[in-house]
């Protein structure tokens, strides 16, 4: 049986009276691709903020492969194995693609440990693997700031692979992408399936059907439903919650 990668237990945050995430729980198994659905403002991004340490929770806990990571510092959570892709893609815009990936692939977080010019074999292997997966080989010497939107998204995804994240939090990885780019991203995620555990926020149902092992629906900061794609599409509570925003399409 697969191990539990991420166990979220009753997590919540109180923004001076407003509970953006409220007692949310779910368990994600190792290798699973979990899609998180929810209307705008449901609290999806905030949930990722809570897992990754950007926002400190006021209740509940998060465990990563059995180790508690609740409210640790961002870099500690990252070192523990959580990678995060932002809703607005964020890469090091003044560095080249190569440099972006080198920074991501360094296996050594400390300053003194990084006072060296060369990469070790493990880092080089990881770098080559990422370049192959993301197909960024042709643009390695370009400055990241001039990449196309799709390439920027893949670079950021590549950085998560490079950093050795075992659990990836992907916030709308296909936002703003063309249909072709979206399909390429789906293919990439499917290649990573099994080796990495992913929690993906996504609105595009075609994409969701392509990648999801299981779907969790969030509504007003709370856990509303969870199940396979067909189950969720049939679920009356989900339909109800989505009526205001046009339903699932």
């Amino acid at each position: 049986m697969a191990q539990n990668a991420l166990v979220i237990d009753g997590i919540g945050v109180d923004f001076s009276g407003f509970k953006a995430v409220d007692g949310f729980s779910t368990v994600i198994e190792e290798g699973e691709v979990r899609v998180l659905l929810g209307a705008n403002g449901a609290g999806k991004t905030t949930l990722m903020d809570l897992i990754s340490g950007k926002t400190k929770s006021t209740e509940g806990s998060v465990h990563l492969f059995g180790r508690e990571i609740t409210n640790l510092e961002e870099h500690q959570i990252a070192q523990a194995g959580v990678g995060r892709k932002f809703q607005i893609p964020s890469v090091f815009r003044d560095l080249t693609v190569r440099e972006n990936l080198i920074v991501a692939c360094a296996r050594q977080p400390s300053v003194l440990g990084n006072l060296r010019l060369r990469r070790n074999a493990a880092e080089r292997r990881r770098f080559d693997e990422v370049v192959e997966l993301t197909a960024l080989g042709d643009v390695l010497d370009r400055v990241a700031g001039v990449l196309s939107h799709g390439q920027t998204q893949w670079l950021e995804l590549g950085m998560l692979i490079g950093q050795g994240a075992r659990v990836m939090l992907l916030d709308e990885p296909t936002a703003g992408m063309t249909v072709g780019e979206t399909m390429k991203t789906a293919a990439l995620i499917n290649r990573l399936r099994g080796d990495y555990t992913m929690l993906v926020v996504e609105h595009d149902m075609a994409f969701v059907r392509e990648i999801a092992s299981k779907i969790t629906v969030m509504h007003l900061g709370k856990h509303l439903a969870e199940g396979r794609v067909e189950q969720i599409e049939q679920n009356p509570a989900v339909r109800e919650a989505y009526l205001g925003s046009g339903g699932i399409h």
Binding site: A78, S90, D94, E99
Partner: protein, 381 residues
């Protein structure tokens, strides 16, 4: 990893090589008075490097770089003051700075231990080795403490500039106010010479120029090496997007503190060299205008280039010294340099270095037409 020798890399190496060659060969054409002047400009060049490291590479605009320069200067000036013959000949049995003797209460014991409250701090500076150790230690420690407080709290942007600016003015005030120990406004003058193995570094001899020149070259090359390391790359990453770096697992504050401290150390070393070449230390080193000038030099030279910022500082000061020979030009110069600064910020954000790089790359492309412009020289590790 493949070592790539690109056109860009080759041009950079050529620029560094030319610069180093020029400053090392200068004594063949310049007399000692001119060399002494130029040694001070090299010190300003070091300050340009310190500013480029912190502003260009870390994205931290420190408006109080003069604080570290001043600390380094005072540390070496204290030890050199105690080497000075005239300072000691004030009728005391042990060396005492002249100003302490002049200012002392009638009947006070003429000894460093108790001639003035706090004068005992001078005692260990009787050893020149101690003074030099303090040049390295004090600016580093102070920079570390300031950096630690700022970056742990995730203070960024203009707030860092305001805090560092306030700090340099605060320390300046302390030095001026602590007259019995620091000689206040007048600073430390009439210093002795740095002495190594019997050799005295008289500011007006060629070896003293070489001392400063080698110091500058060492600082330039070591800093260039430092930013080329993985840590230097991570630093630039934190400048572009601190959060992205955090979510990759880097403790961003540690990188910022480390390089802020290195930048402070460089400024401290520069301060010490300045004292050796100019034979005085003064609270004006901590004037706001001086710290702002450093930023202007780096901006004009190119804040993203260590060499550019270094040359910017040297160039501006050389021109300034030339025009200030005539009084009318000296006044106009302030306006001119202000104008140049504004123009550079508006139209040449990468400064002279960026402009030179673009021109050189274009020339290289023209000359090398037919062969690929960037020829990767594949050399395995």
């Amino acid at each position: 990893m493949k070592l790539r020798l690109t056109t860009r890399g080759a041009l950079e190496a050529a620029a560094y090589g030319t610069f180093i060659l020029v400053i090392l060969l200068l004594p063949t054409v310049a007399d000692v008075f001119w060399l002494n002047r130029f040694a001070k400009y090299l010190v300003y060049g070091m300050l340009g490097i310190a500013v480029a490291l912190s502003w260009g590479y870390a994205g931290v605009l420190n408006l109080g770089q003069g604080l570290f320069f001043g600390l380094g200067a005072y540390m070496v000036a204290m030890t050199l003051k105690l080497q000075s013959e005239t300072s000691m000949q004030q009728g005391a049995d042990t060396p005492i700075p002249d100003f302490m003797a002049w200012n002392s209460q009638p009947g006070a014991l003429k000894d460093l231990c108790c001639i003035a409250p706090g004068s005992w701090l001078w005692i260990p500076f009787q050893s020149q080795a101690f003074g030099i150790a303090m040049v390295l230690l004090v600016p580093t420690a102070v920079a570390f403490l300031i950096g630690w407080s700022i970056f742990r709290l995730r203070i960024s942007g203009v707030f860092i500039s305001i805090i560092t600016l306030a700090l340099v003015l605060l320390v300046r005030l302390l030095i001026v106010d602590w007259q019995p120990v620091t000689n206040g406004f007048n600073g430390l003058t009439d210093l002795g010479w740095l002495t190594f193995g019997g050799f005295e570094f008289d500011p007006y001899v060629v070896p003293t120029y070489y001392l400063v020149a080698f110091g500058t070259v060492a600082v330039l090359l070591l800093t260039r090496l430092l930013v080329a390391t993985r840590a230097g790359l991570v630093l630039q990453a934190t400048r572009d997007d601190a959060n992205r770096a955090r979510y990759l697992g880097y403790d961003v504050a540690r990188y910022q503190v480390f390089f802020f401290t290195v930048s402070g150390l460089i400024a401290g070393i520069a301060g010490a060299f300045y004292v050796i070449a100019s034979e005085f230390a003064s609270p004006t080193f901590l004037d706001l205008t001086f710290s702002v000038s450093m930023v202007v030099w780096a901006a004009v030279g190119g804040r993203n280039s260590l060499l550019g910022a270094c040359i910017g500082a040297i160039l501006i000061n050389t021109i300034q010294a030339t025009v200030s020979e005539s009084e009318m030009l000296a006044e106009a110069w302030k306006a001119i340099i202000g104008l140049i600064f504004v123009l550079v910020v508006l139209f040449l954000p990468r400064g002279i270095a960026g402009l030179a790089r673009d021109i050189a790359m274009r020339l290289a492309a023209l000359l090398g037409r037919g062969t690929p412009a960037a020829q990767p020289l594949q050399k395995s590790e």
